[in-house]
């Protein structure tokens, strides 16, 4: 009889990488269905195109590079879904397709595949689309426009604030009845599942805490200094892609820091960048660039925020 030989430990909890990926997908479904509810079946169509394209691209790249097939681990589907959720509901299907191919092929596989990419692949796809299709990326539809109930186009709350100084009611921001990207509008349906994921340790609470806390604090400072010019902190938190970014993009495991202190640095840094971009640049929104810039700093952050080893001199 032969016995199995393997390194210790011999017992493990059931968590595996695929299980984590599918939990993230599950946690994103409420926001996805909210997108379908507010922006119609077209939004759902975009989601399906992005997820399908992501899996297909991953499959083809793996075949071309003669790597083991990885589509079953769920990570490609997560990238496709996240990208779809940060697109305008009126995005042309072919553009969504191209953006997803870029996200997987360049943002992820070119770096070596799952675990090796420096930048959040979904945001790489989105940045590509922002450069390639700037008009489509900034055309918005009003919620329920598909039912013919409202005007077809509408500014996002952040754009309305920045360019017209128009404040959107908090209730609408909280529940998602505003124009914006497919999955970013409902703060409620993003926060609740994210809290569940944080509860089981799948996303680290330090990153969203640092991120949202900094936006609220720094946004609050500007608001106090000049309330006529700058929006209040609650608006900063609820409007735009911040919730989705803080809960599901900045917390991307692969592209965020490993160390507890590093996670704070990462979150705070991204928060500062969001406020700077929102208040002082030509863009109404800065979540995407704030995260991408912090992604680039992760190796450095890890290096300089190593925990103090037990017994090491303080």
């Amino acid at each position: 009889m032969s016995y199995r030989i393997s390194p210790a430990p011999y017992i493990k909890p059931p968590d595996t990488v695929p299980r984590m990926m599918f939990l993230v997908i599950g946690a994103l479904l409420p926001a996805t269905f909210a997108g379908a509810y507010f922006f119609g079946l077209r939004a759902l169509g975009l989601v399906l195109i992005c997820v399908g394209t992501a899996i297909g691209t991953e499959y083809l790249v793996n075949r071309m590079m003669k790597r083991d097939q990885t589509i079953a681990d769920g990570s490609a589907a997560v990238t496709g879904l996240l990208l779809a959720l940060c697109l305008s509901p009126s995005m042309p299907f072919f553009a969504a397709f191209l953006g997803t191919v870029f996200a997987i092929a360049v943002g992820k596989q070119l770096f070596g595949g799952l675990g090796y990419n420096t930048f959040n692949p979904a945001l790489i796809g989105r940045a590509f689309l922002a450069a390639a299709f700037p008009v489509h990326m900034t055309s918005w539809v009003a919620p329920f426009a598909y039912r013919g109930l409202a005007a077809v186009t509408a500014a996002t709350p952040l754009a309305a604030m920045k360019f017209q100084h128009e404040l959107t009611p908090y209730g609408r921001l909280f529940f998602g009845n505003v124009s914006g990207c497919i999955g970013e509008t409902s703060a409620l349906l993003i926060i609740l599942p994210a809290l569940l994921l944080a509860g089981i340790g799948l996303i680290n609470w330090r990153i969203p805490a640092g991120y949202l806390g900094t936006v609220a604090l720094l946004g609050g400072v500007f608001w106090l200094a000049n309330p006529a010019q700058y929006p209040d902190p609650l608006f900063q938190l609820l409007a735009g892609g911040l919730m989705l970014g803080a809960c599901f993009m900045a917390t991307d495991l692969v592209t965020s820091p490993l160390t507890p202190r590093g996670m704070w640095v990462f979150g705070v840094g991204a928060g500062v960048l969001v406020i700077v971009i929102r208040l002082f640049s030509g863009l109404p929104e800065g979540v995407m660039y704030s995260i991408l810039i912090m992604n680039a700093l992760v190796p450095l952050i890890n290096k300089y925020t190593r925990p103090r080893i037990l017994g090491q001199k303080k």
Binding site: Y3, R4, A8, Y10, R306
Partner: protein, 443 residues
């Protein structure tokens, strides 16, 4: 409740054996006694093939300081001295003894075991005499690391020891041998602790126990009260690796053992409860370490039990005394499921460090498929040493041993908490051990 930071909460699976009294296995017909059962130098054999030996007779020793002699665990004849499989996965020079029930010259049965020798009242022994007795008895740390106890009891010049911690945590899942020992030999645990404290001239004894063993805690407390020394029983949270020396010193006393240092650097000597019992038995009766408490358990064992087995008994024989293997037994492990060593065959002997023979079936075993590291940082948030295990594994994998050291790889205690929580199933500890091995080779 006192505890250390981080660590994990695996399923403990101790219920099957925690309430089962220990039974002593009959002496086997044949024992295999490796000449290396401890940290340090291998012993030289003191016997040759054909020699008759008595139970308790010293059969291997060395002049090296960091080592411990080994003794015959049955009376009989030496039939072989050869390199034989050791449960740590290597081949080690070992003495095989086969029992000879009848004395050939007189035709009389040989006495089973030496008459208990009184070495004098323990209270009269000086620290140096205690160390001598402990060394001659071949006592090593019985918690698993098997560090020679007489070395531990000889703190270097200038290191004042104020506290002896007796480690009764038994934080590895499945194992209950120490738990039973604390219940069944409570007096001996406490008396052994007093001797150890005397040897290192410490005036305080702390017996540390996890809160999943309240019966043992109560019994230890009631025994400790009878003595005039400063003996306290400290209850610690049930958490792995609470019994790791550095975690234990931190949890029980709030002191941090310096990086790459030993508990004696902060005035502490840590000894396992089993070691304490071995010490008192050696001091009282001159009994050498030829038996030990161990748990034979796991879903692959028909009758999980706590047993006392002679050193050198094969795993096969020990398992047979516990009902044998189940049909679906798939992996045999010496030690616990977190730090144990998986075995190729059952023809390996119980050694001084064998706290458990654990047999798992396919069902409890983790699937073997691994994934790339997704940087989830679970290893970082569970490492009780506050290392960054995923980086250490990657440095080892890439041969970057300089960076491995720079990131504190040598501080790793190999507890396996990181590999346990890793969702990518990366054998992190394996990579760490490999890097440490390569670094040793380079030096």
């Amino acid at each position: 409740m006192k505890t250390f930071s981080q660590g994990i909460h695996p399923k403990y699976n101790k219920k099957k054996t925690a309430n089962k009294a220990t039974r002593e296995l009959p002496p086997p017909k044949k024992v295999i006694i490796p000449l290396h059962q401890h940290t340090g130098a291998t012993c030289e054999p003191l016997v040759k093939v054909g020699d008759a030996v008595q139970e308790g007779q010293k059969i291997g020793d060395t002049a090296k300081f960091v080592s411990a002699p080994v003794h015959a665990s049955i009376s009989g004849k030496v039939t072989r001295i050869d390199k034989l499989p050791h449960p740590c996965g290597t081949e080690v020079l070992a003495v095989v003894i086969e029992s000879q029930p009848v004395n050939q010259s007189t035709g009389q049965p040989v006495e089973s075991g030496p008459a208990d020798r009184q070495t004098g009242r323990p209270a009269d022994l000086s620290p140096e005499e205690i160390r001598q007795v402990v060394r001659e008895a071949g006592i090593v740390g019985l918690g698993g690391a098997a560090f020679p106890t007489h070395v531990k009891l000889a703190p270097p010049e200038g290191k004042k020891i104020d506290t002896v911690i007796i480690n009764g945590c038994e934080c590895e899942p499945y194992i209950t041998a120490d738990h039973r020992l604390m219940l069944e030999k409570t007096e001996e645990v406490v008396d052994g602790a007093r001797i150890i404290a005397k040897a290192v001239e410490a005036d305080r004894i702390v017996i540390a126990i996890e809160d999943n063993k309240p019966d043992a805690k109560e019994r230890l407390k009631s025994v400790a009260r009878k003595h005039k020394e400063n003996i306290t029983v400290v209850e610690l949270e049930t958490k792995y690796p609470q019994g790791g020396e550095k975690m234990l010193v931190k949890a029980a006393l709030g002191r941090e053992v310096p990086s790459r240092g030993l508990p004696l650097d902060v005035g502490v000597v840590v000894s396992n409860v089993g070691t304490a019992v071995a010490v008192i038995e050696a001091v009282r009766f001159g009994t050498p370490l030829i038996k030990r408490y161990l748990t034979v358990t796991g879903p692959g064992i028909k009758e999980p039990s706590n047993v006392v087995a002679r050193i050198g008994t094969t795993f096969k024989e020990v398992i047979d005394h516990c009902g044998g293997l189940t049909d679906n037994a798939a992996q045999v492990i010496m030690g616990g499921p977190m730090m144990g060593v998986s075995q190729v065959s059952l023809e390996v002997p119980v050694v001084k460090a064998t706290s458990c023979v654990l047999v798992l079936t396919r069902r409890e075993m983790a699937e073997e498929k691994t994934y790339p590291c997704v940087k989830c940082a679970k290893c970082v948030s569970h490492c009780p040493m506050f290392l960054v295990p995923s980086r250490l594994a990657a440095f080892s994998d890439n041969g970057k041993y300089g960076e491995f050291e720079e990131w504190g790889g040598q501080d790793c205690i190999e507890c396996g908490s990181c590999a346990y929580v890793c969702p990518a199933r990366i054998p992190i500890v394996h990579w760490v051990k490999l890097a440490k091995f390569k670094l040793r080779q380079m030096k």
